[in-house]
Amino acid sequence: MSKTASHHPALQHYFDDLKQQHGAATMGMWAFLAQEIMFFGGLFAGYTVYRYKYFNAFVEGSNLLPIAWGGLNTVILIASSFTVAMAVRCAQQGLHRSVFNWFMATMVLGLGFLGVKAIEYSHKYHDHLIPGLNFQWDGPMAGPMKIFFSFYFVMTGMHALHMIIGVGLMLWLIPKIRAEKFGPQYYSPIENFGLYWHFVDIVWIFLFPLLYLIGRHL
């Protein structure tokens, strides 16, 4: 019995063909992302409870966050979601050079996001707003303010950690892209990296309004 598809070097012996392998890889990635939703979901649920409990402090804390930096990072991440979608599209068409270029664009945008985040964190350090390190609040609601900034740093910190891991995954994939290992028949690693990166973008789509835009009209 002969199988044309089995000649592809990327086909693992425990799959019938590349189509089945691709479906299994995508499904496994979504199972992982469901777990990621649960992970961030716990943070968002805790945030929701304390936001209702200490709404005034959350408004005051949110108004200390710079919309310009947060907005810029939102634009950067959305743009990087587009560039990684383009990388997947080019991988589907076997355009090796373009996949590499879109990956580099995604990496630059990802590092830009982390750079902006670093600037924001350093400002928080100067303003003595980092709980557990140098938090100091002389006004009213010192405790609830500390809770707001704890959520701010844990949620954006976990998000930033995911970005750093994403950059690491790109560094791991780029040599394989250069070696032209991916094409229309086999691009699961590129596509699954794209799914991961889009997920991290989605987390930020919620973090931005929930952290930066509370009660701006008040």
């Binding site: 019995m1 002969s2 199988k3 044309t4 598809a5 089995s6 019938d16 063909d17 590349l18 189509k19 392998q21 691709h22 479906g23 995508t26 499904m27 979504w30 199972a31 992302l33 469901a34 990621e36 939703i37 649960m38 979901g41 968002f44 649920a45 929701t48 409870v49 209702y52 409990k53 200490y54 709404f55 919309i67 907005g71 939102t74 634009v75 959305i78 743009a79 979601s81 587009f82 979608a85 383009m86 599209r89 589907q92 068409q93 229309p184 028949q185 794209g194 799914l195 889009h198 973008d201 989605i202 789509i205 919620f206 931005f208 309004p209 929930l210 835009l213 509370i214 009660g215 009209h217």
Partner: protein
């Protein structure tokens, strides 16, 4: 393992993975929408909408996330089984929020009634 002469008439294109390539205009539409609604969510944040500020901000975020999931993440073009996998995480999130909040919202409800949500 067969070394040569694959039987095309028997196997044909079956088993070959053929990627679904999304048209460029879809990607451009999605990213335009995402940028526009980012601007809208910032603008709306400064408007006085009473109790509606948070629901509007969340609705915009959910809309943006849906665009990313459906088009950038290709769920729109995937099999029903994949919709279930993609939807399961978000469904779990609904359960988490519904049960957590119905607990905290209803805590302290008694004759005196200082609910948890109102300080």
């Amino acid at each position: 393992m067969s070394a040569h002469a694959p039987d095309h008439s028997h196997q044909g294109e079956h088993g070959q993975h053929e990627p679904h390539i999304v048209p460029m205009r879809v990607y451009f539409s999605v990213i335009s929408c995402l940028f526009i609604f980012t601007a809208i969510t910032v603008a709306v944040g400064f408007l006085e909408l009473g109790p509606l500020n948070t629901p509007v901000a969340l609705a915009i975020a959910i809309f943006k996330a849906s665009l990313v999931v459906l088009f950038f993440m290709h769920v729109r073009y995937n099999t029903p089984l994949m919709w279930v996998f993609a939807g399961s995480g978000f469904f779990w999130l609904l359960i988490l929020f519904a049960l957590t909040m119905q607990d905290y919202v209803s805590r302290g409800w008694d004759d005196q009634g200082i609910p948890f949500l109102i300080q």
